[in-house]
C-alpha cells in the first residue's frame, strides 16, 4: 500500500496529520526539490499578502516596498529553523537528518501557504464587516500548519509528544541565538571592511604623494 506520486505524498501527509509523516518516513519518501518550491511559494505568499490584499484589508505601508524583510521572514527564517532544529535534536537523540527535517518542515507549511493565498484572494471580494472569513481562513491554515509541524517533528525525530514540544521550544531559542550571531558577525565583518578600506585609502593617499 501507499504508492503515491510526489504530490500524492504531499496530499497524504496534509490530510493525515496523525499518521501521514510516519508513513512518509516509513516509505522513505519526500522530495527536497518540492520542499524548496514550497519555501519559495511561502516567500511569494508573503509578497502577495503584502501587495495584493484587498484595499480595505491591507494595513501595510504601501509607499515603499522592501523585499528584504519578506525574504528574511520566509526563506531565512525557514532555513534557520531547519538548521536550529537539526542542531538541537542531534543533541537530543533525534533521528532526523538535515534533509528530512527540511522536507518535513516544508510539507507542514503547505496549509498555511494555501490559507494565505485563499484569504488574500477572497479579501478582494469581501468588505470589512465580513473580515471574519478572511481571518478564519488565515487562522485555519495557520493552525493546521502548527499541528502538522508538531507531527512532522515528532515523526522525523521519533520523539514522544512532550519531547517534541520541548525540542520545538529549544529550536526557537536556537534560532534566536543563530540570528543574533549572524547579526554580530555581519557587523564585525562590516568593521573589518571599514578597517581594510581605511588602510587602502591611507596607502592610496601616500602613493599619490
Amino acid at each position: 500500500m501507499y504508492e503515491f506520486s510526489t504530490l500524492g505524498w504531499l496530499k497524504h501527509v496534509i490530510f493525515h496529520p496523525v499518521e501521514g509523516f510516519e508513513d512518509l518516513r516509513w516509505k522513505k519518501k519526500g522530495s527536497l526539490k518540492l520542499s524548496f518550491l514550497i519555501v519559495f511559494l511561502l516567500f511569494v505568499a508573503m509578497v502577495v499578502n503584502r501587495q495584493l490584499k484587498g484595499f480595505a484589508f491591507n494595513t501595510a505601508y504601501v509607499k515603499v516596498f522592501n523585499v528584504v524583510p519578506l525574504i528574511v521572514q520566509s526563506i531565512v527564517y525557514f532555513f534557520v529553523w531547519v538548521i536550529g532544529n537539526w542542531a538541537v535534536c542531534t543533541l537530543f537523540d533525534g533521528e532526523g537528518t538535515l534533509k528530512n527535517i527540511c522536507i518535513y518542515s516544508a510539507y507542514a507549511l503547505v496549509p498555511y501557504i494555501i490559507g494565505v493565498y485563499v484569504s488574500v484572494f477572497i479579501s478582494n471580494f469581501l468588505i470589512l464587516d465580513e473580515a471574519i472569513w478572511v481571518n478564519f481562513i488565515y487562522l485555519l491554515g495557520l493552525g493546521w500548519s502548527v499541528v502538522l509541524m508538531i507531527q512532522a517533528m515528532k515523526a522525523v525525530h521519533q520523539y514522544s509528544f512532550t519531547k517534541t514540544i520541548v525540542s520545538i521550544i529549544g529550536t526557537l531559542i536556537a534560532m534566536l541565538l543563530i540570528l543574533f550571531l549572524a547579526v554580530l558577525l555581519l557587523s564585525l565583518f562590516q568593521q573589518v571592511y571599514v578597517f581594510v578600506y581605511s588602510i587602502y585609502t591611507e596607502i592610496a593617499y601616500r602613493v599619490r604623494g
Binding site: 484595499f55 505601508y61 509607499k63 470589512l128
Partner: protein
C-alpha cells in the same frame, strides 16, 4: 500586481515632481513651508491657506495716544506705547472689537477691526484693589443694548473679575471671584490664568497648576465645582507605579508620588456652548484637545474608539524640525473651524468642525525674526477670514489673511461638514486643481461620488486618499450593484461549474479518466517500459 506596481511607480513620480515643483515655486514671503498630513501621518507639502498680511505693534495700534494729554485715552505721561508680555487676546463678535490683555503694563486694550486703539482700561471702580496685577486671560460679551461685560483673570491679584465697561477708559466691578473656601479646592495658591463665560452667565476659570479642571462659578459668583478635568496619561511611569502600588507597604505608599493628570492650559467656548480645551504639556496624547459638552463630558474621546489627532505627529514633524507640540491656545472661528496654537513650533493648526486638518502655518523665530514667525506665541484669534496671533515677546500681533486656495478650501469645507457633498463638489475640484495632494479634497470628492451612486469613482478617490473605511463602504455598494447586474451570469457560471465537477468525479469513479497524479505515473511507467525495451 503589475497595475499596482505601475500605480505605485506613477505615485512616486508624481510625488517627486510635486515636491520638486513645490520647492521651485515656493514664495520667499513666509519663513516656513506649509504642509499637511496624509492618512499615514506623513507630512506632505501643501499649498498655503494663509499668508502674512502685516504685523501690528503698539505704535501701529496708536498706543502713543495713551501718553498724549490731548487724547481722550490719556492715562499718564509715562504710559508705554508698546505692548509688554501680552498674554491673551479676545475678539468680541457682537461689538466686533479686539481685547488685548497687556499683562506687563497691567492694562486692557480695546482695538477695532483694524487693530486701532478705541479704549484702554487701567483702573476699575468698585473694588478695594483698583488696578490689575499681571492679568492673564480675558473674555467679553456684549448684549443687545451694547453693554460690554468683561471677564478677566487677574492672576497676581488672585482674583477673577466680572466687569462692566462704562466708558472707553473705565469699568466697574460686578463680581469678584476669589479662592473657593471649600475642601474640594485643594491647592494652596489661586492664580487664575484664563477665563470664559457661557450664555447662562456661568464663569469658568483656569487656575494655574490646578489639575482637577476649570473652576465653575454661577452667575452670582458662587463656586459650583470643577469642570472637565483631564485624565492621567498612561505613560510607562504611571503603569509602573500602578504595579508597585500592589506590593508596596503603607509607609511606601505614602512616600510615593501619585499619578496626576496635567491641567489644561487654555479653553474657548463656541456658539453652541461646547468648551474646547488644550493641554500644553509636551506631546500630550491623552486629552490634548477636548470638546466638552456643558456637562463636562469629552465628545472627542479617543478611548472609546475614535481617533482624533491634533498638532504635529512627533515622528513626522522631524522632517521640518524636531519639536514637540505644546498647544497653548484654541479658538473657534466661523463655521466651527478650530484653530490651535502651538507654543513650541509657533504653528497654527486649523481644523474643520469634525477635526479634519485644513491648514498648518506659522513658525518659531529661529534664528531670525521675520513676519510670520513667533518668539512667544501666546494667543490666537479669528475675525472673519483672518487669523491673528499675539506674540508676547515680540510684542506685536501678526495678521494672517486667507489665500485664494484657502478661500476655496473654507468654502468647500463649510459645505462638507454640513454633509452637502454634492454641492461642495465643484469647489473641491477647484481645490484639487491647485493642490492635487490635498487629502481632504479626495475624500470629499469620494463622498460626493458615493452620494451620486458613482461607486467606482468613489473607490478611486478613496484609494488615492488611502481612506480604507470609506473605500470599504463604496466597495460594498459597488459589489451589491455588480451582483445585481450580473446575477444571471453568475448563477449560470456556478451551475455549469458544479455540473462539470460532478461529471468529472463520476467519470473518474468509473475509471474512464485518470487523476493528474495517476496520469503522470502512468506516463512514467510507459517511459520506463520503453527504455527497458530499448
Amino acid at each position: 500586481m503589475v497595475s499596482k506596481l505601475k500605480k505605485c511607480f506613477i505615485g512616486i513620480v508624481a510625488a517627486v515632481t510635486a515636491a520638486g515643483s513645490f520647492a521651485a515655486t515656493a514664495f520667499a514671503d513666509e519663513p516656513y513651508e506649509t504642509y499637511s498630513y496624509d492618512m499615514w501621518q506623513d507630512t506632505i507639502p501643501s499649498q498655503a491657506g494663509y499668508r502674512v498680511e502685516r504685523t501690528v505693534t503698539g505704535l501701529d495700534m496708536g498706543l502713543s495716544s495713551l501718553s498724549d494729554p490731548e487724547s481722550p485715552f490719556f492715562i499718564s505721561e509715562k504710559e508705554s506705547p508698546y505692548l509688554n508680555t501680552a498674554r491673551d487676546m479676545f475678539f468680541d463678535d457682537v461689538s466686533e472689537t479686539f481685547w488685548v490683555v497687556d499683562s506687563g503694563n497691567n492694562r486692557l486694550l480695546q482695538l477695532d477691526k483694524d487693530l486701532k486703539l478705541i479704549g484702554c482700561i487701567k483702573t476699575i471702580e468698585g473694588s478695594s484693589v483698583s488696578t490689575f496685577n499681571n492679568p492673564q486671560g480675558i473674555f467679553t460679551s456684549t448684549d443687545d443694548k451694547g453693554v460690554t461685560t468683561i471677564y478677566l483673570a487677574d492672576a497676581d491679584n488672585n482674583r477673577g473679575l466680572k466687569l462692566e465697561k462704562t466708558s472707553p477708559t473705565s469699568a466697574k466691578v460686578i463680581l469678584e471671584l476669589t479662592k473657593p473656601e471649600t475642601e474640594a479646592y485643594k491647592a494652596e495658591a489661586f492664580t487664575p490664568s484664563k477665563v470664559i463665560a457661557d450664555k447662562e452667565g456661568n464663569i469658568y476659570l483656569i487656575s494655574t497648576s490646578v489639575n482637577s479642571g476649570a473652576l465653575r462659578y454661577d452667575s452670582a459668583g458662587t463656586f459650583r465645582g470643577f469642570f472637565g478635568a483631564n485624565r492621567v496619561e498612561q505613560t510607562a511611569a504611571v503603569v509602573a507605579r500602578k504595579v508597585w502600588r500592589m506590593f508596596a507597604s503603607e509607609a511606601q505608599l505614602e512616600a510615593m508620588v501619585s499619578s496626576v493628570p496635567t491641567e489644561f492650559h487654555n479653553f474657548d467656548i463656541d456658539e453652541d456652548g461646547f468648551v474646547f480645551t488644550v493641554t500644553e504639556s509636551a506631546n500630550a496624547s491623552t486629552d490634548a484637545v477636548k470638546k466638552l459638552n456643558p456637562a463636562g463630558y469629552n465628545i472627542w474621546d479617543n478611548a472609546v474608539g475614535n481617533s482624533y489627532e491634533f498638532g504635529d505627529f512627533a515622528w513626522s514633524a522631524k522632517e521640518y524640525s524636531a519639536k514637540s507640540t505644546k498647544l497653548t491656545d484654541v479658538v473657534i472661528g466661523e463655521g466651527g473651524i478650530i484653530n490651535l496654537l502651538d507654543y513650541e513650533t509657533g504653528r497654527v493648526f486649523q481644523y474643520d468642525k469634525d477635526a479634519n486638518l485644513l491648514f498648518i502655518f506659522g513658525a518659531k523665530s529661529t534664528p531670525s525674526e521675520q513676519e510670520g514667525s513667533f518668539t512667544a506665541p501666546n494667543a490666537v484669534e479669528t475675525y472673519g477670514t483672518n487669523i491673528y496671533v499675539l506674540d508676547g515677546t515680540k510684542n506685536d500681533i501678526t495678521v494672517f489673511t486667507e489665500t485664494v486656495f484657502g478661500k476655496y478650501v473654507h468654502q468647500a469645507s463649510e459645505l462638507y461638514v454640513q454633509g452637502k457633498y454634492v454641492e461642495a463638489k465643484p469647489i473641491w475640484e477647484e481645490v484639487m486643481r491647485r493642490d492635487g495632494g490635498y487629502t481632504l479634497a479626495h475624500i470629499a470628492l469620494g463622498k460626493a461620488a458615493l452620494n451620486e451612486d458613482r461607486y467606482a469613482d468613489a473607490m478611486e478617490y478613496f484609494e488615492t486618499a488611502y481612506d480604507q473605511e470609506n473605500y470599504d463602504k463604496a466597495f460594498e455598494y459597488y459589489r451589491d450593484d455588480f451582483l445585481r447586474d450580473h446575477f444571471q451570469a453568475i448563477v449560470i457560471t456556478l451551475v455549469v461549474l458544479i455540473v462539470l465537477i460532478i461529471v468529472l468525479v463520476k467519470l473518474r469513479q468509473k475509471g474512464k479518466i485518470k487523476s493528474i497524479g495517476e496520469y503522470i505515473k502512468a506516463s512514467k511507467e510507459k517511459k520506463a517500459a520503453k527504455e527497458e525495451n530499448e
